[in-house]
Protein backbone atom coordinates (compact mmCIF):
# COMPACT_ATOMS: atom_id res chain seq x y z
CA UNK A 1 0.00 0.00 0.00
CA UNK A 2 2.65 2.63 0.84
CA UNK A 3 4.21 2.43 -2.62
CA UNK A 4 0.79 2.81 -4.15
CA UNK A 5 -0.05 6.02 -2.25
CA UNK A 6 3.48 7.18 -3.01
CA UNK A 7 2.92 6.94 -6.71
CA UNK A 8 -0.47 8.63 -6.46
CA UNK A 9 1.13 11.53 -4.65
CA UNK A 10 3.85 11.71 -7.24
CA UNK A 11 1.36 11.77 -10.06
CA UNK A 12 -0.68 14.38 -8.29
CA UNK A 13 2.30 16.67 -7.98
CA UNK A 14 3.26 16.28 -11.63
CA UNK A 15 -0.30 16.79 -12.72
CA UNK A 16 -0.80 19.95 -10.67
CA UNK A 17 2.52 21.42 -11.75
CA UNK A 18 1.78 20.95 -15.42
CA UNK A 19 -1.79 22.10 -15.00
CA UNK A 20 -0.77 25.30 -13.27
CA UNK A 21 1.93 26.00 -15.82
CA UNK A 22 -0.59 25.52 -18.60
CA UNK A 23 -3.18 27.69 -16.91
CA UNK A 24 -0.75 30.51 -16.19
CA UNK A 25 0.52 30.55 -19.75
CA UNK A 26 -2.89 30.54 -21.39
CA UNK A 27 -4.30 33.07 -18.98
CA UNK A 28 -1.46 35.47 -19.51
CA UNK A 29 -1.83 35.18 -23.29
CA UNK A 30 -5.59 35.44 -23.64
CA UNK A 31 -5.90 37.92 -20.84
CA UNK A 32 -3.65 40.41 -22.49
CA UNK A 33 -5.72 40.19 -25.61
CA UNK A 34 -3.79 37.74 -27.72
CA UNK A 35 -2.18 40.51 -29.73
CA UNK A 36 1.57 40.36 -30.26
CA UNK A 37 2.63 43.72 -28.94
CA UNK A 38 0.39 43.50 -25.91
CA UNK A 39 2.03 40.21 -24.94
CA UNK A 40 5.38 41.92 -25.26
CA UNK A 41 4.26 44.70 -22.95
CA UNK A 42 3.23 42.10 -20.41
CA UNK A 43 6.35 39.99 -20.62
CA UNK A 44 8.86 42.83 -20.70
CA UNK A 45 6.97 44.82 -18.16
CA UNK A 46 7.06 41.90 -15.80
CA UNK A 47 10.74 41.20 -16.40
CA UNK A 48 11.36 44.82 -15.59
CA UNK A 49 9.30 44.37 -12.47
CA UNK A 50 11.27 41.29 -11.48
CA UNK A 51 14.56 43.04 -11.99
CA UNK A 52 13.83 46.40 -10.42
CA UNK A 53 12.65 45.36 -6.97
CA UNK A 54 15.65 43.21 -6.02
CA UNK A 55 17.93 45.78 -7.59
CA UNK A 56 16.48 48.51 -5.41
CA UNK A 57 16.63 46.50 -2.24
CA UNK A 58 20.26 45.66 -2.96
CA UNK A 59 20.87 49.41 -3.37
CA UNK A 60 19.46 49.97 0.09
CA UNK A 61 21.80 47.36 1.57
CA UNK A 62 24.66 48.87 -0.36
CA UNK A 63 23.92 52.28 1.17
CA UNK A 64 24.19 50.73 4.63
CA UNK A 65 27.39 49.02 3.54
CA UNK A 66 28.91 52.30 2.38
CA UNK A 67 27.91 53.98 5.63
CA UNK A 68 29.48 51.41 7.91
CA UNK A 69 31.16 48.40 6.22
CA UNK A 70 32.51 47.06 9.51
CA UNK A 71 29.02 46.46 10.89
CA UNK A 72 27.95 44.37 7.89
CA UNK A 73 27.33 40.82 9.16
CA UNK A 74 27.67 38.94 5.84
CA UNK A 75 29.88 39.62 2.87
CA UNK A 76 28.26 42.06 0.51
CA UNK A 77 28.29 39.62 -2.40
CA UNK A 78 26.53 37.07 -0.18
CA UNK A 79 23.75 39.54 0.53
CA UNK A 80 23.43 40.21 -3.19
CA UNK A 81 23.03 36.51 -3.99
CA UNK A 82 20.62 36.10 -1.07
CA UNK A 83 18.28 38.78 -2.40
CA UNK A 84 18.33 37.64 -6.02
CA UNK A 85 17.66 34.03 -5.13
CA UNK A 86 14.95 35.06 -2.69
CA UNK A 87 13.16 37.00 -5.42
CA UNK A 88 13.64 34.24 -7.98
CA UNK A 89 12.11 31.58 -5.74
CA UNK A 90 9.66 33.77 -3.87
CA UNK A 91 6.78 31.42 -4.60
CA UNK A 92 8.52 28.51 -2.90
CA UNK A 93 9.14 30.15 0.43
CA UNK A 94 6.80 33.05 1.14
CA UNK A 95 4.07 32.26 3.61
CA UNK A 96 1.69 34.83 2.17
CA UNK A 97 1.04 32.76 -0.96
CA UNK A 98 -2.36 31.33 -0.28
CA UNK A 99 -4.27 28.46 -1.82
CA UNK A 100 -7.71 29.93 -2.29
CA UNK A 101 -9.19 26.65 -3.51
CA UNK A 102 -8.53 24.89 -0.23
CA UNK A 103 -9.84 27.78 1.85
CA UNK A 104 -12.97 27.86 -0.31
CA UNK A 105 -13.51 24.11 0.22
CA UNK A 106 -13.67 24.59 3.95
CA UNK A 107 -15.66 27.79 3.98
CA UNK A 108 -18.25 26.82 1.38
CA UNK A 109 -18.80 23.27 2.51
CA UNK A 110 -17.51 21.37 -0.52
CA UNK A 111 -15.23 19.70 1.98
CA UNK A 112 -17.94 17.07 2.29
CA UNK A 113 -17.18 15.80 -1.22
CA UNK A 114 -13.50 15.74 -0.49
CA UNK A 115 -14.05 13.57 2.53
CA UNK A 116 -15.94 10.98 0.53
CA UNK A 117 -12.97 10.40 -1.74
CA UNK A 118 -10.66 7.55 -0.75
CA UNK A 119 -7.64 9.80 -0.49
CA UNK A 120 -5.84 11.02 2.54
CA UNK A 121 -6.81 14.69 2.79
CA UNK A 122 -3.58 15.78 4.44
CA UNK A 123 -1.41 14.25 1.72
CA UNK A 124 -3.62 15.57 -1.02
CA UNK A 125 -3.54 19.16 0.19
CA UNK A 126 0.14 18.96 1.01
CA UNK A 127 0.84 17.94 -2.58
CA UNK A 128 -1.49 20.49 -4.04
CA UNK A 129 0.15 23.35 -2.15
CA UNK A 130 3.68 22.15 -2.83
CA UNK A 131 2.95 21.61 -6.51
CA UNK A 132 1.37 25.01 -6.98
CA UNK A 133 4.28 26.72 -5.31
CA UNK A 134 6.73 24.77 -7.47
CA UNK A 135 4.88 25.63 -10.65
CA UNK A 136 4.79 29.32 -9.86
CA UNK A 137 8.46 29.32 -8.94
CA UNK A 138 9.36 27.61 -12.23
CA UNK A 139 7.46 30.29 -14.16
CA UNK A 140 8.89 33.14 -12.21
CA UNK A 141 12.52 32.27 -11.68
CA UNK A 142 14.00 32.36 -15.19
CA UNK A 143 13.55 36.06 -16.03
CA UNK A 144 14.90 37.05 -12.62
CA UNK A 145 17.88 34.75 -12.88
CA UNK A 146 18.69 36.17 -16.32
CA UNK A 147 18.58 39.72 -15.00
CA UNK A 148 20.56 38.69 -11.91
CA UNK A 149 23.46 37.38 -13.96
CA UNK A 150 23.42 40.29 -16.42
CA UNK A 151 23.43 43.39 -14.22
CA UNK A 152 26.83 45.13 -13.76
CA UNK A 153 29.37 44.01 -11.21
CA UNK A 154 28.67 44.77 -7.57
CA UNK A 155 25.00 43.89 -8.05
CA UNK A 156 25.56 40.79 -10.13
CA UNK A 157 24.71 37.45 -8.58
CA UNK A 158 27.57 35.03 -8.12
CA UNK A 159 27.45 31.26 -8.41
CA UNK A 160 27.90 29.26 -5.21
CA UNK A 161 31.54 28.48 -4.30
CA UNK A 162 31.38 24.92 -5.64
CA UNK A 163 29.10 22.20 -6.99
CA UNK A 164 28.62 20.64 -3.58
CA UNK A 165 27.12 23.92 -2.38
CA UNK A 166 24.73 23.94 -5.28
CA UNK A 167 23.57 20.42 -4.47
CA UNK A 168 23.19 21.28 -0.80
CA UNK A 169 21.21 24.34 -1.84
CA UNK A 170 18.82 22.28 -3.95
CA UNK A 171 18.33 19.72 -1.20
CA UNK A 172 17.87 22.39 1.44
CA UNK A 173 15.36 24.26 -0.77
CA UNK A 174 13.34 21.09 -1.05
CA UNK A 175 13.34 20.72 2.73
CA UNK A 176 12.48 24.40 3.17
CA UNK A 177 9.51 23.98 0.85
CA UNK A 178 8.34 21.05 2.99
CA UNK A 179 8.64 23.13 6.17
CA UNK A 180 6.73 26.00 4.59
CA UNK A 181 3.94 23.75 3.34
CA UNK A 182 3.73 21.79 6.60
CA UNK A 183 3.47 25.04 8.52
CA UNK A 184 0.85 26.49 6.19
CA UNK A 185 -1.15 23.26 6.57
CA UNK A 186 -1.62 24.21 10.22
CA UNK A 187 -3.11 27.50 9.04
CA UNK A 188 -5.51 25.76 6.65
CA UNK A 189 -6.60 23.29 9.30
CA UNK A 190 -7.26 26.11 11.74
CA UNK A 191 -9.72 27.48 9.18
CA UNK A 192 -12.11 24.73 10.28
CA UNK A 193 -12.37 26.53 13.60
CA UNK A 194 -12.02 30.21 12.78
CA UNK A 195 -13.71 30.41 9.37
CA UNK A 196 -12.21 33.87 9.02
CA UNK A 197 -9.40 33.56 6.57
CA UNK A 198 -8.20 37.14 6.35
CA UNK A 199 -7.06 38.59 9.64
CA UNK A 200 -5.41 35.69 11.45
CA UNK A 201 -3.87 34.44 8.27
CA UNK A 202 -2.25 37.78 7.47
CA UNK A 203 -0.87 38.09 10.98
CA UNK A 204 0.55 34.56 10.99
CA UNK A 205 2.00 34.91 7.51
CA UNK A 206 3.56 38.28 8.21
CA UNK A 207 5.20 37.18 11.44
CA UNK A 208 6.54 33.94 10.04
CA UNK A 209 7.89 35.63 6.92
CA UNK A 210 9.64 38.18 9.06
CA UNK A 211 11.21 35.54 11.30
CA UNK A 212 12.24 33.57 8.23
CA UNK A 213 14.32 36.47 6.99
CA UNK A 214 12.06 37.78 4.24
CA UNK A 215 12.33 41.45 5.18
CA UNK A 216 15.88 41.45 6.51
CA UNK A 217 18.15 38.37 6.34
CA UNK A 218 18.57 36.74 9.75
CA UNK A 219 22.29 37.64 10.16
CA UNK A 220 21.21 41.29 10.35
CA UNK A 221 19.05 40.61 13.42
CA UNK A 222 20.46 41.75 16.77
CA UNK A 223 21.66 38.96 18.99
CA UNK A 224 18.99 37.27 21.09
CA UNK A 225 16.49 37.55 18.21
CA UNK A 226 18.88 36.07 15.70
CA UNK A 227 19.53 32.86 17.62
CA UNK A 228 15.89 32.42 18.54
CA UNK A 229 14.73 32.92 14.96
CA UNK A 230 17.34 30.52 13.66
CA UNK A 231 16.18 27.75 15.97
CA UNK A 232 12.45 28.21 15.33
CA UNK A 233 10.84 26.47 12.34
CA UNK A 234 10.95 29.82 10.54
CA UNK A 235 14.73 29.67 10.44
CA UNK A 236 14.38 26.35 8.63
CA UNK A 237 12.47 28.03 5.81
CA UNK A 238 14.09 30.35 3.25
CA UNK A 239 16.89 31.34 5.60
CA UNK A 240 18.69 28.01 5.23
CA UNK A 241 18.83 27.40 1.44
CA UNK A 242 19.48 31.05 0.60
CA UNK A 243 22.39 31.30 3.00
CA UNK A 244 23.80 28.01 1.80
CA UNK A 245 23.63 29.23 -1.78
CA UNK A 246 25.35 32.49 -0.98
CA UNK A 247 28.11 30.69 0.91
CA UNK A 248 27.21 32.30 4.24
CA UNK A 249 26.58 28.89 5.80
CA UNK A 250 29.04 26.19 4.83
CA UNK A 251 30.52 22.88 5.93
CA UNK A 252 29.25 21.32 9.14
CA UNK A 253 27.03 24.32 9.84
CA UNK A 254 25.16 23.57 6.65
CA UNK A 255 24.72 19.92 7.62
CA UNK A 256 23.53 20.91 11.09
CA UNK A 257 21.07 23.32 9.48
CA UNK A 258 19.73 20.61 7.23
CA UNK A 259 19.33 18.31 10.23
CA UNK A 260 17.34 21.07 11.93
CA UNK A 261 15.15 21.38 8.85
CA UNK A 262 14.42 17.66 8.90
CA UNK A 263 13.62 17.85 12.59
CA UNK A 264 11.06 20.60 12.02
CA UNK A 265 9.49 18.78 9.09
CA UNK A 266 8.90 15.74 11.29
CA UNK A 267 7.47 17.83 14.13
CA UNK A 268 5.20 19.88 11.88
CA UNK A 269 4.00 16.85 9.94
CA UNK A 270 3.17 15.11 13.20
CA UNK A 271 1.24 18.08 14.61
CA UNK A 272 -0.51 18.69 11.32
CA UNK A 273 -1.66 15.10 10.89
CA UNK A 274 -2.82 14.95 14.50
CA UNK A 275 -4.79 18.17 14.14
CA UNK A 276 -6.25 16.99 10.86
CA UNK A 277 -7.50 13.66 12.15
CA UNK A 278 -8.99 15.27 15.26
CA UNK A 279 -10.65 17.95 13.20
CA UNK A 280 -12.12 15.62 10.61
CA UNK A 281 -13.70 13.49 13.34
CA UNK A 282 -16.03 16.30 14.32
CA UNK A 283 -16.04 18.48 11.25
CA UNK A 284 -18.98 20.80 10.73
CA UNK A 285 -19.82 21.27 7.09
CA UNK A 286 -20.65 24.85 6.23
CA UNK A 287 -23.63 25.75 4.12
CA UNK A 288 -24.77 24.02 0.99
Amino acid sequence: MPSCTGSIIYEKILCTVSHTLYKQFTVSRCGIGGIGNAVCVGVYGNIGFFGVLPHKSISAFSAFYRTNPAAFPMEFSQTVSYIWMQQAFLALFMMWFWEHDIAALIMEGSIAYEMVRPLDLYNRWFCQIAANRLARAVLRCSPILIVAFLVPEPYRMTLPPNAAHLLLFIFSSFLALCVVVAFSMLMYISLFYTLSPMGMRIIAAVISDFLAGATVPLPFFPEPFRTIAELLPFGAMQNMPLRIYSGNIAGTDALAGIALQIFWIIVLLFIGRLMMSRTLKKVIVQGG
Partner: protein
Protein backbone atom coordinates in the same frame (compact mmCIF):
# COMPACT_ATOMS: atom_id res chain seq x y z
CA UNK B 1 -20.22 65.42 -2.52
CA UNK B 2 -23.30 64.55 -0.55
CA UNK B 3 -23.62 61.39 -2.57
CA UNK B 4 -20.00 60.54 -1.88
CA UNK B 5 -20.61 60.83 1.85
CA UNK B 6 -23.54 58.48 1.44
CA UNK B 7 -21.34 55.94 -0.31
CA UNK B 8 -18.72 56.44 2.36
CA UNK B 9 -21.19 55.60 5.10
CA UNK B 10 -22.49 52.65 3.13
CA UNK B 11 -19.06 51.09 2.64
CA UNK B 12 -18.16 51.71 6.25
CA UNK B 13 -21.32 50.02 7.47
CA UNK B 14 -20.98 47.05 5.15
CA UNK B 15 -17.40 46.42 6.20
CA UNK B 16 -18.33 46.76 9.85
CA UNK B 17 -20.92 43.99 9.45
CA UNK B 18 -18.33 41.35 10.23
CA UNK B 19 -16.75 43.14 13.15
CA UNK B 20 -14.28 40.51 14.26
CA UNK B 21 -13.01 39.90 10.77
CA UNK B 22 -12.78 43.63 10.17
CA UNK B 23 -10.70 44.30 13.25
CA UNK B 24 -8.50 41.28 12.68
CA UNK B 25 -7.79 42.51 9.17
CA UNK B 26 -6.92 45.93 10.52
CA UNK B 27 -4.61 44.23 12.97
CA UNK B 28 -3.11 42.24 10.11
CA UNK B 29 -2.46 45.40 8.13
CA UNK B 30 -0.88 46.87 11.21
CA UNK B 31 1.45 43.91 11.59
CA UNK B 32 2.32 43.98 7.94
CA UNK B 33 3.90 47.38 8.16
CA UNK B 34 5.05 46.70 11.70
CA UNK B 35 7.50 44.03 10.58
CA UNK B 36 8.85 46.51 8.04
CA UNK B 37 9.35 48.93 10.88
CA UNK B 38 11.01 46.26 13.00
CA UNK B 39 13.35 45.40 10.14
CA UNK B 40 14.24 49.07 9.87
CA UNK B 41 14.91 49.20 13.59
CA UNK B 42 17.18 46.15 13.45
CA UNK B 43 19.15 47.67 10.60
CA UNK B 44 19.70 50.92 12.47
CA UNK B 45 20.57 49.13 15.67
CA UNK B 46 23.49 47.71 13.74
CA UNK B 47 24.45 50.61 11.47
CA UNK B 48 23.21 53.71 13.39
CA UNK B 49 22.83 55.70 10.18
CA UNK B 50 22.46 55.37 6.44
CA UNK B 51 24.48 57.93 4.46
CA UNK B 52 23.87 60.92 6.74
CA UNK B 53 20.36 60.14 7.85
CA UNK B 54 19.67 58.91 11.36
CA UNK B 55 16.93 56.49 12.43
CA UNK B 56 14.57 59.36 13.31
CA UNK B 57 15.04 61.02 9.92
CA UNK B 58 14.29 57.78 8.16
CA UNK B 59 11.25 57.26 10.39
CA UNK B 60 9.88 60.58 9.17
CA UNK B 61 10.16 59.27 5.59
CA UNK B 62 8.64 55.96 6.59
CA UNK B 63 5.65 57.56 8.26
CA UNK B 64 5.03 60.07 5.47
CA UNK B 65 5.04 57.34 2.84
CA UNK B 66 2.94 54.98 4.93
CA UNK B 67 0.33 57.60 5.69
CA UNK B 68 0.16 58.98 2.14
CA UNK B 69 -0.11 55.50 0.73
CA UNK B 70 -2.75 54.24 3.11
CA UNK B 71 -4.92 57.30 2.56
CA UNK B 72 -4.60 56.86 -1.20
CA UNK B 73 -5.39 53.17 -0.90
CA UNK B 74 -8.42 53.63 1.33
CA UNK B 75 -10.13 56.04 -1.01
CA UNK B 76 -8.60 55.02 -4.34
CA UNK B 77 -9.30 51.33 -3.92
CA UNK B 78 -11.76 51.47 -6.80
CA UNK B 79 -8.94 52.28 -9.20
CA UNK B 80 -6.68 49.72 -7.64
CA UNK B 81 -9.29 47.01 -8.28
CA UNK B 82 -10.27 48.48 -11.64
CA UNK B 83 -9.21 45.38 -13.66
CA UNK B 84 -11.88 43.42 -11.79
CA UNK B 85 -14.50 46.03 -12.46
CA UNK B 86 -13.63 46.01 -16.14
CA UNK B 87 -13.46 42.23 -16.30
CA UNK B 88 -16.83 41.48 -14.78
CA UNK B 89 -18.72 44.06 -16.81
CA UNK B 90 -19.53 46.27 -13.85
CA UNK B 91 -17.84 49.12 -15.67
CA UNK B 92 -20.29 48.95 -18.60
CA UNK B 93 -23.11 49.54 -16.18
CA UNK B 94 -21.30 52.52 -14.74
CA UNK B 95 -20.86 54.01 -18.22
CA UNK B 96 -24.59 54.24 -18.87
CA UNK B 97 -25.33 56.03 -15.62
CA UNK B 98 -25.57 59.82 -15.84
CA UNK B 99 -22.74 60.53 -13.43
CA UNK B 100 -19.09 61.37 -13.72
CA UNK B 101 -17.17 58.17 -14.38
CA UNK B 102 -14.24 58.93 -12.07
CA UNK B 103 -16.70 59.61 -9.28
CA UNK B 104 -18.39 56.26 -9.83
CA UNK B 105 -15.17 54.29 -9.80
CA UNK B 106 -14.12 56.17 -6.73
CA UNK B 107 -17.36 55.44 -4.92
CA UNK B 108 -17.51 51.79 -5.98
CA UNK B 109 -14.93 50.62 -3.43
CA UNK B 110 -13.44 51.88 -0.24
CA UNK B 111 -11.24 49.88 2.01
CA UNK B 112 -11.22 50.86 5.64
CA UNK B 113 -9.01 48.04 6.79
CA UNK B 114 -6.05 50.21 5.71
CA UNK B 115 -6.77 52.03 8.93
CA UNK B 116 -4.29 49.64 10.52
CA UNK B 117 -1.47 51.22 8.57
CA UNK B 118 -2.75 54.71 9.18
CA UNK B 119 -2.71 54.14 12.93
CA UNK B 120 0.83 52.89 12.66
CA UNK B 121 1.89 55.94 10.67
CA UNK B 122 0.41 58.17 13.36
CA UNK B 123 2.24 56.27 16.11
CA UNK B 124 5.51 56.55 14.23
CA UNK B 125 4.92 60.27 13.78
CA UNK B 126 4.34 60.57 17.52
CA UNK B 127 7.83 59.24 18.08
CA UNK B 128 9.64 60.76 15.12
CA UNK B 129 8.30 64.32 15.23
CA UNK B 130 9.69 65.24 18.68
CA UNK B 131 12.85 63.16 18.30
CA UNK B 132 13.97 64.09 14.81
CA UNK B 133 15.75 67.26 15.92
CA UNK B 134 13.61 69.40 13.65
CA UNK B 135 12.46 72.68 15.16
CA UNK B 136 8.80 72.71 14.22
CA UNK B 137 8.08 76.22 13.07
CA UNK B 138 4.93 76.85 11.05
CA UNK B 139 6.71 76.43 7.72
CA UNK B 140 8.06 73.02 8.75
CA UNK B 141 4.60 71.87 9.85
CA UNK B 142 3.19 73.08 6.56
CA UNK B 143 5.91 71.21 4.66
CA UNK B 144 5.03 68.00 6.46
CA UNK B 145 1.35 68.46 5.65
CA UNK B 146 2.25 69.08 2.00
CA UNK B 147 4.31 65.90 1.98
CA UNK B 148 1.44 63.78 3.26
CA UNK B 149 -1.37 65.44 1.33
CA UNK B 150 0.38 65.71 -2.02
CA UNK B 151 1.91 62.29 -1.48
CA UNK B 152 -1.47 60.63 -1.26
CA UNK B 153 -2.70 62.53 -4.30
CA UNK B 154 0.34 61.43 -6.32
CA UNK B 155 -0.15 57.81 -5.28
CA UNK B 156 -3.76 58.22 -6.24
CA UNK B 157 -2.68 59.50 -9.68
CA UNK B 158 -0.54 56.37 -10.00
CA UNK B 159 -3.61 54.23 -9.33
CA UNK B 160 -5.37 56.11 -12.12
CA UNK B 161 -2.49 55.37 -14.50
CA UNK B 162 -2.71 51.73 -13.45
CA UNK B 163 -6.43 51.72 -14.18
CA UNK B 164 -5.75 53.46 -17.49
CA UNK B 165 -3.45 50.64 -18.57
CA UNK B 166 -6.28 48.19 -18.04
CA UNK B 167 -8.16 49.68 -20.97
CA UNK B 168 -5.37 48.41 -23.20
CA UNK B 169 -4.57 45.12 -21.53
CA UNK B 170 -7.75 44.14 -19.62
CA UNK B 171 -5.54 42.49 -17.00
CA UNK B 172 -3.77 44.54 -14.40
CA UNK B 173 -0.10 45.00 -15.15
CA UNK B 174 2.09 43.76 -12.38
CA UNK B 175 4.93 46.11 -13.25
CA UNK B 176 2.92 49.13 -12.13
CA UNK B 177 3.41 47.85 -8.60
CA UNK B 178 7.02 48.99 -8.75
CA UNK B 179 5.75 52.51 -8.36
CA UNK B 180 2.86 51.97 -5.98
CA UNK B 181 3.77 49.16 -3.59
CA UNK B 182 7.42 49.48 -4.52
CA UNK B 183 7.29 53.20 -3.87
CA UNK B 184 5.93 52.52 -0.40
CA UNK B 185 8.49 49.79 0.30
CA UNK B 186 11.51 51.69 -0.86
CA UNK B 187 10.36 55.15 0.07
CA UNK B 188 11.09 54.41 3.70
CA UNK B 189 14.64 55.53 2.96
CA UNK B 190 15.28 58.94 1.37
CA UNK B 191 15.35 58.24 -2.36
CA UNK B 192 18.84 59.68 -2.73
CA UNK B 193 20.43 56.53 -1.29
CA UNK B 194 19.45 54.60 -4.41
CA UNK B 195 21.80 56.66 -6.55
CA UNK B 196 21.51 59.59 -8.92
CA UNK B 197 19.75 57.87 -11.81
CA UNK B 198 16.89 56.58 -9.73
CA UNK B 199 16.56 59.95 -8.02
CA UNK B 200 16.34 61.72 -11.39
CA UNK B 201 13.75 59.20 -12.57
CA UNK B 202 11.68 59.69 -9.43
CA UNK B 203 11.92 63.46 -9.84
CA UNK B 204 11.06 63.97 -13.49
CA UNK B 205 9.13 60.87 -14.58
CA UNK B 206 7.28 59.47 -11.57
CA UNK B 207 7.49 62.32 -9.07
CA UNK B 208 7.72 60.31 -5.85
CA UNK B 209 10.88 62.11 -4.73
CA UNK B 210 9.13 65.47 -4.99
CA UNK B 211 7.08 64.79 -1.89
CA UNK B 212 9.70 62.80 -0.02
CA UNK B 213 13.36 63.61 -0.64
CA UNK B 214 13.30 67.34 -1.48
CA UNK B 215 10.93 68.53 1.25
CA UNK B 216 12.82 66.32 3.69
CA UNK B 217 15.95 68.33 2.89
CA UNK B 218 14.00 71.45 3.82
CA UNK B 219 12.74 69.88 7.05
CA UNK B 220 16.27 68.95 8.08
CA UNK B 221 17.59 72.43 7.22
CA UNK B 222 19.90 71.05 4.56
CA UNK B 223 18.29 73.31 1.98
CA UNK B 224 17.16 76.74 3.07
CA UNK B 225 15.31 77.75 -0.06
CA UNK B 226 11.52 77.93 0.27
CA UNK B 227 11.38 76.30 -3.14
CA UNK B 228 12.01 72.92 -1.54
CA UNK B 229 9.02 73.41 0.69
CA UNK B 230 6.72 73.65 -2.32
CA UNK B 231 8.11 70.75 -4.36
CA UNK B 232 5.19 68.48 -3.33
CA UNK B 233 2.82 70.99 -4.91
CA UNK B 234 4.81 70.83 -8.16
CA UNK B 235 4.44 67.06 -7.98
CA UNK B 236 0.69 67.49 -8.24
CA UNK B 237 1.22 68.36 -11.91
CA UNK B 238 1.56 64.61 -12.36
CA UNK B 239 -2.19 64.31 -12.02
CA UNK B 240 -2.69 66.03 -15.39
CA UNK B 241 -0.87 63.48 -17.59
CA UNK B 242 -2.27 60.55 -15.60
CA UNK B 243 -5.83 61.75 -15.92
CA UNK B 244 -5.29 62.45 -19.63
CA UNK B 245 -3.96 58.94 -20.04
CA UNK B 246 -7.05 57.55 -18.35
CA UNK B 247 -9.33 59.59 -20.68
CA UNK B 248 -7.44 58.35 -23.75
CA UNK B 249 -7.88 54.79 -22.56
CA UNK B 250 -11.54 55.40 -21.88
CA UNK B 251 -12.09 56.72 -25.40
CA UNK B 252 -10.77 53.57 -27.02
CA UNK B 253 -12.53 51.28 -24.56
CA UNK B 254 -14.40 48.33 -25.97
CA UNK B 255 -16.48 46.29 -23.60
CA UNK B 256 -15.10 42.93 -22.53
CA UNK B 257 -18.50 41.51 -23.33
CA UNK B 258 -19.05 39.71 -20.08
Amino acid sequence: MQLYIKFFAMHLKSQMQYKLSFFLTILGQFFMSFTALLGLYFMFLRFNAVEDYTFEHVLLCFAVLLMAFSIAETFGRGFDLFPQMLGNGEFDRALVRPRNIVFQVLASKMDFTRLGRLIQAILVFCYAIPNSGVIWTWDKVLTLLFMIGCGSLIFFALFIVYAGFTFFTVEGLEFMNIFTDGGREFGRYPFSIYGKNILMFLTFVIPLALFQYYPLLYLLDREKSMFYMFTPIIGLLFIIPSYTFFRIGLRRYKSTGS
